[in-house]
Symmetry: C2
């Protein structure tokens, strides 16, 4: 029986999960493929460290090159994360004619084009199901299921840590820092949570999704992102009052001539499906021409969900290898479309929630409204509340009709210079779903 | 360049959609496969009928055998629906060594085993992505993405017509018959709506899902199903009051030694993701061991969504054919598990919503509660409302704790014999989500 050889770079949680799944499902995988899948080399940083699974010590090495250069390794699974040295290793494996499976969204966001080009040159594939939405078979669905469709828009809740924090803030009325500390204790947030709560991780994933869905290169430095760390309980209370829930959305939209890519906290209608995606769960919502709206939901992280995704990629590659097929071109977007520029956030047309901290004196609301009007921003709703705490400025909350972001930013800059302005204005973009 | 020949049985909406998608995406499909896909024969009932797409008249025949026997046809796409003569045609195609793509859930529900056996014997594949959840790439996800996982439970909103009606009844407070008539006018419901609103169509789809997810044969006659046509506005009002939404759920659960399969209107917590699946949309929620909870959502019907699914199956088969691979065994569940009996509905353990129509006289509530207690059913909540309309019986609504269905049915039979009982009792099962 033919054997497909695997090499692992990294044996942390996900790596251990992969080893475990392959062992637990060996018979089923063998029956399905008509071949065996075998781990043949594992590179780790510390050879002696205790692992979540037992592995044959002879397989373990501390040099990544031992895995990459091993002629019995057909597929290299990269699970070390980060851009370097992961990039170097993956390019090395591709150059050696090995297929690659990776869960590394940062690597793909920054170097996806380079890796795809190297794959094309060496006639191998790179699969990355685990890079977005953990175990949700999402990348495959976008690539295969919609093979004859055209995706116009993709909207994701793709950072479980942020979604957990937002869910707790919504449901329990607690503050960001308190919930973050709890999430860190529970293992849902890293000691340095910047990448998660700052929106960077979601932006990496958005870049991966957009490159796949829109069939174009993405310059990651042009992806706009903003985190959830500035949100306060007051914003959640107003969101509730206006019928919204606050979610960290990653939004990608193909405008034909240009592409919109943005990650930021967003008010979404409470009845919308994405509003019900709670806790550490992820979801990706897709608008496409033939299929219309669809959504994929599940656990976006965790040892086993991520391992499931990696193993499903391995099986897919094994099928290709066994068929002796010239690559399934899985890495190549369905239809190459022309490269398009990424829009600046200033070009966005959206509705906005604006919460102003102003001194409670006559004429302030008129000043705010006047400046907004001067910037072509029309007001849909206003709430001005009596100041309860004399130490704190009064709150004026304005929900706008659709306006252009550059105008909104200019208006906020002007408002910030008013003598009555006593706090920076809070801005949350609103996502309008279709009727 | 190699060409994969297709034969169509049926050229209604979906068939026209398939022809259109293949034409519109010909270049992309060719780039992806390195081969062309070409429709070579189309069987229709009336050759002269006007079609939604233009097709070469030379391809059209009124004899299905012309398609099945055509040596230039590699893949037969069955879109005529119903069990006969679809079964005969599909078996004929398989016997001729042709792969089959079908959207026909009734055929699969009743004859799935026979078709799979014929495929295995003739070393061909049957693909059926379009049979459940329309264009949602759900069957593929269950088969491939979870290849190394084990599914314990699958819960679907899989009948768009029923979901549309329930959504309207919930949101607009209108009655079943009124909404059904409107749905028929809008083309969301058939002239004879029995299969949709009676639960039969959802039961067919549940049988298809269960066979795939649980790796076992399903005797369709043992699938319990109940429709939405007995629900009244009063039930929706109570559901709202208790924090529930009413959905027609198709529930399949693998208990290891036996399998639970049931379709019925169900009260689900309003905050649960499935409660937000509105209108004609479908969703399938899956509980699996490694991945945990996941959900797939999208349009469950319609010309283009269904056509997308059919074309994605065609592309998958084309890949196999081109690779010269011995079948991808897609039709075969991941891991064969022993055959298990399907549980009787009487074995169900659930919470129940019971609405009694009783005469408004002293001691009635005590009688009801007594009979329930005698049958080992404990009460979680009671609402008894003063009779507003003297023509109608008083309403007593009881929500039970978990109880056994056979006990509940026995209790309801006893209650039906009470002199005070003036209306049949309404029973709606409640689905409890995990915390």
């Amino acid at each position: 029986m033919r054997v497909i050889g695997l090499g692992l770079l990294g044996l942390g949680n996900v790596g251990a999960g992969v080893v475990k799944l392959l062992a637990d499902n060996a018979a089923a995988i063998e029956a399905r493929l008509g071949a065996r899948v075998e781990v043949r080399r594992i590179a780790v940083q510390q050879a002696e460290k205790r692992r979540l699974v037992e592995v044959d010590k002879k397989l373990v090495t501390t040099r990544a090159r031992d895995v990459i250069d091993d002629p019995s390794v057909d597929v290299v699974i990269e699970l070390i994360g980060g851009t370097e040295p992961a990039r170097e290793y993956v390019l090395g494996a591709i150059a050696k004619g090995k297929h690659v499976v990776t869960a590394n969204k940062a690597l793909l966001a920054y170097h996806g084009d380079e890796l795809l080009a190297a794959c094309a040159e060496n006639n191998v594939e790179i699969y990355y199901e685990a890079s977005v939405g953990g175990g949700i078979p999402l990348i495959r669905a976008l690539r295969e299921g919609l093979a004859s469709d055209r995706i116009d828009e993709v909207i994701g809740i793709v950072n479980g840590t942020s979604n957990f924090i937002l869910t707790q803030m919504t449901e329990q009325g607690r503050d960001f820092n308190e919930v973050l500390a709890e999430a860190q204790k529970a293992g849902y947030a890293e000691a340095d949570p910047t990448l998660d709560v700052g929106g960077g991780d979601a932006a990496h994933k958005l870049a991966v999704l957009a490159a796949l869905c829109f069939g174009t290169k993405i310059d990651f430095t042009k992806v706009f992102f903003e985190g959830i760390d500035k949100l306060t309980q007051r914003d959640f209370a107003y969101a509730e009052r206006f019928g919204y829930t606050i979610k960290l959305l990653a939004i990608g939209k193909d405008h034909g001539d240009s592409i919109e890519l943005r990650v930021h906290p967003t008010m979404v209608p409470k009845r919308w499906l994405l509003a019900s995606v709670g806790g550490v769960f992820n979801a990706v919502y897709v608008n496409s021409q033939a299929l219309g709206q669809s959504m994929y939901y599940g656990r976006g992280a965790g040892m086993m969900p991520t391992a499931v995704a990696v193993v499903s990629d391995v099986i897919e590659i094994a099928r290709t290898l066994l068929a002796g097929a010239p690559g399934t071109r899985a890495s190549v977007p369905r239809a190459k479309r022309p490269e398009r520029r990424i829009r600046d956030i200033g070009e966005l047309e959206s509705r906005y929630y604006l919460r102003f901290g102003v001194e409670d004196r006559p004429g302030v609301l008129a000043q705010l409204a006047g400046i907004l009007g001067d910037h072509d921003i029309s007001i849909a709703e206003v709430v001005q509340e009596g100041r309860r705490d004399p130490q704190r400025p009064a709150s004026v909350v304005i929900v706008t009709h659709r306006a252009r972001e550059s105008n909104v930013q200019a208006a906020l800059a002007a408002i910030g210079k008013l003598p009555a302005a006593s706090e920076p204005t809070q801005l949350v973009r609103i996502y309008e779903t279709r009727p």
